[in-house]
Symmetry: C2
Subunit: 372 residues, 2 copies
């Protein structure tokens, strides 16, 4: 990719696209957001990677604690995987236990303990994990029972967004059940908000559900594309967080922190979450109406800001692949096996360009389906 | 820390220091290096974190392969820990074996398998590691024998730079012995060049020793403070590298890659490694002569670009702590428990300021030693 601005991106050959992938999540306010880039440039003119953190780290920690209900403290890192791994380490340090439960098929990063393709990893990397089914409380209870008195944490995504599958919103009763189970067991409830954080809600993605995690992992969009990750936690897990040794050469760099502060400010000032919800709704309604007009049976799942489209019976993603390729050729940058991301920068023109592209892409799928 | 320029840094209270820590390694050419920052700004005006890598990733991969003798390919990441972990995963994927040998006390990052303080980690995180003593080939052979036919790799630092200990240069016979042992066993020799890379040599730090690793881990200084890590490898391990799944939201961001290209260019054009060697030699000679004049017995170890100072008999680092505190108060930013880093930006004035500070700091240590 060569460049970007607002909701548009350009590839190395000069082709222009309306961006519905947002760099797989990091872009929230659009590419080259003026206030974010201005804050980043101003900080870069002073310092980025130094012998210690800048004053901006304190400012950002305080802003995050003010913005996210369950957070009493913040720690910073670079990758989403750093943040999910730190949450597990903190939970183990605090509880003195080892077992962590995660949903089968959920993506929590690409370290050996969680990478979806285990080539080059060892069975020992996952020896202390147990698995449950998302939205199935009985399966969590069974996995917790197996863990016995060794249950350190339950790790969960705000909704089910496993790559290549129809997405599934969380059942509020499931979220509340996890909270009760963790409380009863003295285990940590860890929310992996890396992919969703600040796209669904200006706070933890489970605040609208009314369930507070003990620890949450953040990255991707919190600095609108600048490299940053964070762990937020409550006072109950403060000692555990204090006790672990984790660091990285660039974890305390000031530029992404200045960008994060500007991002959170712009999210609030621009009503960006409502803007994403609006754009996402128009795109969803348009696509569903197009699918109907082409007599194609589709599933359009997940929150409208992070939708995913599948075709009925398309288990090998052949139709999804064709649809995405045709849409991309016509200027709508989407993905056949990964959820899309809607930014707050989409204009009515951008949305019209997306829907013109998807309509013709549906036509190509219709032709292919009829032919085969 | 508030800001920096060249070899000087300023803290939040406005105090100025000559920087001998270089952000724990990332700063090589000095803070705010004009060519590096200009390249970063130019790239940032186009794009940073996008749906795919920019053309600059190809340029950087080719430049690294041209610059580092053993490298036939490059992969990118964000943390030094990402790079060391990826090397282990690639070695395991390629060999189909699990066991990796590392030197006792060596620092290879802060993931659960390698963090020096194991709070919150599990025994299983290190189940497939074996340990040897740096520069002791017999201890490697013993650990390899224990691994039997399960030896995937030997992981080693260019020299022994364990925090808080006198540093130890590599015995070339030890390096050659590791190479032979790995060849005989069909295991990978992994060089962890995260801390030393491009500070000792414009290529792998073992090129002057004449020993080529199969895989090497890089980060810290390769983009003069911009967040980037890399794994370089030879053709024998290409399939293993291809087969693993690792990724991160910011791993393909273009700005640090543009900064890395400018860094490597400036290293060459400015003769930066020779400049660091020269400055490091002047500082070493000055400090050793000062210690003598104060009748203090010290060890000044490691390459002159990455020196470390200890006081004889100072096992609790009390004298080192006093020395560092007094030097810092007088404007020489050093560390009592971690090796220092010399940048190419040090001027004669900077060096004079360092030596004025260390002379008075030795005086304080002398006073303390005499009093106790």
């Amino acid at each position: 990719m060569r460049s970007g601005g607002g909701a548009r991106v350009w590839d190395a050959d000069g082709n222009c696209y309306v961006d519905l992938m947002c760099s797989y999540g990091p872009i929230l306010l659009g590419h080259q957001h003026p206030a974010v880039e201005q804050a980043a440039r101003a900080q870069a003119a002073l310092a980025d990677c130094q012998n210690g953190p800048g004053p901006v780290m304190v400012d950002l920690a305080e802003l995050l604690v003010d913005t996210v209900q369950h957070a009493d403290w913040a720690m910073f890192a670079k990758n989403g995987t750093d943040a999910t791994t730190m949450c597990c380490t903190i939970a183990r340090a605090q509880t003195g236990r080892k077992r962590i439960l995660a949903a089968r098929g959920a993506y929590h990063g690409s370290a050996p303990w969680c990478t979806p393709r285990p080539g080059g990893t060892t069975p020992e990397d996952r020896a202390n994990l147990g698995y449950y089914t998302f939205n199935d409380l009985a399966s969590v209870r069974a996995a917790a029972e197996q863990a016995g008195d060794d249950l350190a944490a339950v790790l969960v995504s705000p909704f089910r967004h496993d790559a290549g599958y129809d997405q599934e919103l969380v059942d509020p009763a499931f979220a509340r059940g996890l909270r009760e189970l963790c409380d009863a067991a003295g285990a940590a409830l860890i929310l992996d908000d890396v992919r969703c954080g600040f796209r669904l809600h200006l706070g933890s993605s489970w605040e609208p559900v009314g369930v507070a995690p003990d620890l949450s992992a953040w990255s991707k969009a919190i600095a609108n594309g600048h490299p940053l990750a964070a762990v937020l936690g409550n006072d109950r897990f403060r000692d555990g967080a204090r006790s672990i040794f984790v660091t990285g050469s660039f974890w305390f760099s000031a530029v992404p922190m200045a960008a994060a502060i500007a991002t959170i400010g712009a999210l609030r000032q621009e009503g960006a979450i409502e803007a994403m919800e609006h754009a996402g709704t128009v795109i969803r309604d348009g696509i569903l109406s197009q699918a109907k007009s082409w007599s194609l049976e589709v599933n359009y799942t997940g929150p409208v800001q992070m939708p995913y489209l599948t075709f009925a019976g398309d288990s090998d993603h052949a139709l999804a692949g064709l649809f995405a390729a045709e849409a991309i050729r016509r200027g709508a940058y989407i993905h056949p096996r990964h959820n899309w991301f809607v930014s707050a920068a989409l204009t009515d023109d951008d949305i019209a360009m997306v829907l013109a592209a998807t309509d013709e892409a549906f036509g190509a799928v219709r032709k292919q389906s009829t032919a085969s």
